[in-house]
């Protein structure tokens, strides 16, 4: 077979998913996340990170520009192709473009997460010079009152909208998303309409976890109830289809392995202090790629995932397991173990089974 062909995918998402699946079989670390900072200029009550923008003690522990770039070069040498830059708020780093611009010359498919409030006209123009494949901005409401009730920062709604406008104007690839809480759930449709009016894709998430560092969190108070979550996701065609299909193959029950996503298979995360972990929500195994080299750190992450304890017996025996979003990160955040059931997710799994499950 000699045909020389080029395929321009019309459906980018499925191709990327397939590439990740294949990379996982070879343990190629194709998907990296660099969490440039944990600091943020917003103070959202439900956030799992949330370090203060001006916290100098936190800032001084963040990797420097040359360290991030060295890490990126090593990761590319070992097969990284997809890279997400996230925070905290990435534009709090005054050296953001000193990190970003060289990355755009490494042959990476870059994604950028930001809250948009620090995106000025000049920053949007600079991004447009070498744009990421995708930028995602989280909306916290469709009105200043609601948005700022969530973020806790007066004026942040207008700055976010201005940031979106600037990126749209400069044609930087952009999508909007929201984190749904008790405070903004009433504006979900209005946020979807805002995205539509800008001509932007929109998605919503509503599973709020506790803080990663174990500090007190208001996530539980901000969460929708399990019944509300399941009613809400039923309005999303993709989710409803997923769970209907799950119901049809319920006999297969769901994953037996504790880690069942790409974490440690094809994906890794490096936190602001330079520790490599399997997942952004789970600060383990805290490998040190800049000290040991990327390969040794990636092998440590793989070992951590491969030797993780099995599912708890109560999860293995659960008749709603196929509907359950629990993973080791959720267990770690909510129970301080890698295995124990998370009561909130148990309720959601049972509610999904009740809605989509086949009658006995």
């Amino acid at each position: 077979m000699t045909a020389a062909r080029v395929a321009l995918p019309t459906d980018y998402g499925p191709l990327v998913s397939e590439l990740h699946r294949r990379a996982a079989t070879r343990r190629q670390p194709v998907n990296g996340t660099f969490e440039l900072t944990e600091r943020c200029n917003l103070t959202c009550q439900m956030c799992y990170v949330r370090q203060a923008a001006g916290d100098q003690a936190v800032r001084t522990k963040e990797l420097s520009t040359p360290e991030w770039l060295e890490l990126a070069r090593q990761a590319v040498d070992h097969g990284m192709v997809f890279l997400l830059l996230t925070g905290g708020e990435v534009f709090l780093r005054p050296d953001f473009f000193e990190i970003y611009t060289p990355l755009t010359r490494l042959g990476l498919i870059l994604t950028l997460f930001t809250n948009g409030t620090l995106i000025t006209e000049a920053r949007a123009a600079r991004l447009a010079e070498a744009p990421p494949s995708r930028t995602e901005i989280t909306l916290y409401g469709a009105t200043a009152t609601t948005y700022e009730a969530v973020t806790g920062v007066p004026g942040s709604y207008a700055r976010c909208c201005a940031g979106i406008e600037a990126l749209v104007k400069h044609r930087v690839p952009l999508g909007l998303k929201t984190t749904i809480t008790r405070h903004n759930v009433g504006e979900l449709d209005a946020m979807r309409q805002m995205a539509h009016d800008w001509g932007l894709p929109f998605s919503a998430g509503w599973l709020l976890s506790q803080r990663r560092d174990g500090a007190p969190s208001e996530a539980a108070a901000c969460r929708l109830s399990a019944a509300e979550c399941v009613a809400l996701e039923a309005t999303d065609r993709a989710s409803a289809t997923e769970w209907t299909e799950t119901a049809l193959r319920e006999a297969s029950l769901g994953p037996d392995r504790n880690f069942y996503c790409q974490a440690g298979q094809a994906a890794f995360v490096v936190n602001p202090r330079g520790e490599m972990n399997a997942c952004i929500d789970l600060p383990l195994p805290a490998a040190r790629p800049l000290e040991t080299g990327f390969r040794a750190a990636w092998e440590q992450v793989q070992r951590f995932v491969d030797t993780a304890p099995p599912l708890a017996p109560s999860c293995l025996a659960c008749d709603a397991r196929a509907y359950c979003p629990r993973c080791p990160a959720w267990s770690a955040l909510e129970t301080d173990t890698l295995t124990e059931p998370v009561p909130y997710l148990c309720e959601i799994a049972q509610a999904r089974k009740g809605r989509y499950g086949q009658p006995a």
């Binding site: 077979m1 000699t2 045909a3 020389a4 062909r5 080029v6 395929a7 321009l8 995918p9 980018y12 191709l15 990327v16 590439l19 294949r22 990379a23 079989t25 070879r26 190629q28 194709v30 097969g79 192709v81 755009t104 010359r105 490494l106 042959g107 990476l108 498919i109 447009a128 010079e129 070498a130 744009p131 990421p132 494949s133 044609r171 690839p173």
Partner: protein, 88 residues
């Protein structure tokens, strides 16, 4: 013929991807996948090449007739020319 320098070929689990660099992302926000023959031609196009040279290399590397190799290379060249990946 020679390829432009604003793409890098990456390998993901055996799949060859052309990733646009810098501003090129704006023109082509997607993935180009190349089969092994196309990837071979892409590598050769780092330097100025003629159709005959490319076809000859493909015929030798993939053990096919020169005629078939030339047809395949021509098809590939037409496609990447349309995408603006060749130096004019």
């Amino acid at each position: 013929m020679k390829r432009k320098t604003d793409f890098i070929m990456q390998n993901v689990a055996g799949e060859n991807l052309l990733v646009p660099l810098g501003a090129r992302m704006m023109d082509l926000n997607g993935l180009i996948t190349l089969n092994d023959t196309a990837a071979c031609v892409w590598e050769l196009l780092a330097q100025e090449r003629t159709l005959v040279e490319l076809a000859s290399a493909v015929a030798e590397r993939f053990d096919v007739t020169p005629e078939l190799a030339r047809d395949d290379v021509q098809t590939f060249m037409d496609e990447i020319a349309k995408m603006g990946l060749l130096e004019s």
